[in-house]
């Protein structure tokens, strides 16, 4: 269908700075999570309006850094921290992500190498706990 042409219209603004989290996202994450970090219902979890909510608690941050897409990514610890911080600020309609503590390379390095054996079960627990203290991401996607 000609709607495929709309894919072509999804141009990505890529900055020219050395650290380039937008480009890192496009090359390493966007293929599955989508141009607006919206995910795919039933297949790929959304990052928009979800990642920043996980970042509110140590348990949520732990989960985010250990999910397979983050832990197994070819990005370095610093690059992964940069992409996550960029995503949280760029795709959060509540505009509260600026108040969250950003990820650091050291924090990423300490957590991403610990395997997360049951992703969905852990997500359910983390989301349940987040919901008791404020806005939470969806438990299902």
């Amino acid at each position: 269908m000609m709607r495929a042409a709309t894919v072509a219209a999804t141009l990505v603004a890529v900055g020219a700075q050395a650290a380039n989290p937008a480009q890192d996202y496009v090359l390493n994450c966007m293929g599955c999570h989508g141009a607006a970090a919206q995910g795919i219902p039933g297949k790929v979890p959304p990052l928009a309006n979800a990642l920043s909510r996980f970042m509110r608690t140590p348990e949520g941050r732990n989960y985010v850094l250990r999910v397979p897409g983050a832990a197994n990514s070819s990005l370095s610890d610093e690059q992964l921290a940069g992409v996550l911080n960029w995503l949280a600020v760029t795709f959060d309609s509540s505009a509260t992500a600026n108040q969250l503590a950003p990820f650091t390379g050291r924090e990423v390095a300490a957590l991403r190498r610990q395997p997360l054996l049951s992703v969905l079960a852990t997500r359910g627990t983390v989301v349940h706990n987040l919901a008791t203290t404020g806005p939470s991401p969806p438990s299902q996607y």
């Binding site: 709607r3 894919v7 197994n72």
Partner: protein, 169 residues
């Protein structure tokens, strides 16, 4: 026979009393008007709404620069173009994204390789270049995956390549 004649005569006269030539014309007019309005009913005709796509000869060749990491049938040979899926197929929401070097301007471009899904394999212009592909242990960097996996109809038909932007080094 007289009885039959009388029966049919009475029937014809009775019909003539109850109807007129005008009523016949009115009825015929309704039928013709209804038939003329049939194409306006809300029936899905999106498959026919497709405008013809005219790919360039370069788009139909595997050595076209932006096909550097493609693996599949070129949609430009299958009724689409290098950026548009053929009629009756849908682009995959999950894609392989890589970079290709354009020798014409010396720049690297970020390219999204979307599969077009919903029909059986096209079978024309198979192109298997896969530059910088990694083995299956890193799925997001492997191009043997059926990217139609997230579509309602996961049949693979062909692949397009869409430029997303210029890659900064």
């Amino acid at each position: 026979m007289k009885t039959l004649d009388r029966l049919f005569e009475n029937g014809a006269r009775s019909l003539a009393k109850r109807t007129s030539r005008r009523s016949l014309l009115a009825c015929l007019g309704q039928v013709l008007t209804g038939a003329a309005l049939m194409p306006l009913l809300p029936i899905d005709r999106t498959a026919r709404a497709q405008e013809p796509v005219h790919p360039t000869p370069a788009e139909q060749k595997c050595d076209y620069w932006k096909y550097c990491a493609i693996d599949g049938f070129l949609c430009a040979c299958c009724g689409g173009s290098s950026t548009a899926c053929p009629p009756g197929t849908q682009p995959s929401p999950i894609t392989w994204i890589g970079t290709c070097h354009n020798p014409a301007d010396g720049r690297d471009y970020i390219v999204s390789y979307n599969d077009c899904c919903g029909k059986v394999s096209c079978g024309d212009c198979f192109c298997d270049r896969n530059e910088r592909e990694t083995p299956m242990y890193r799925l997001s960097r492997n191009n043997d995956v059926n990217w139609c996996m997230a579509n309602a109809d996961s049949n693979y038909h062909c692949s397009v390549s869409v430029i997303l932007g210029v890659a900064e080094k």
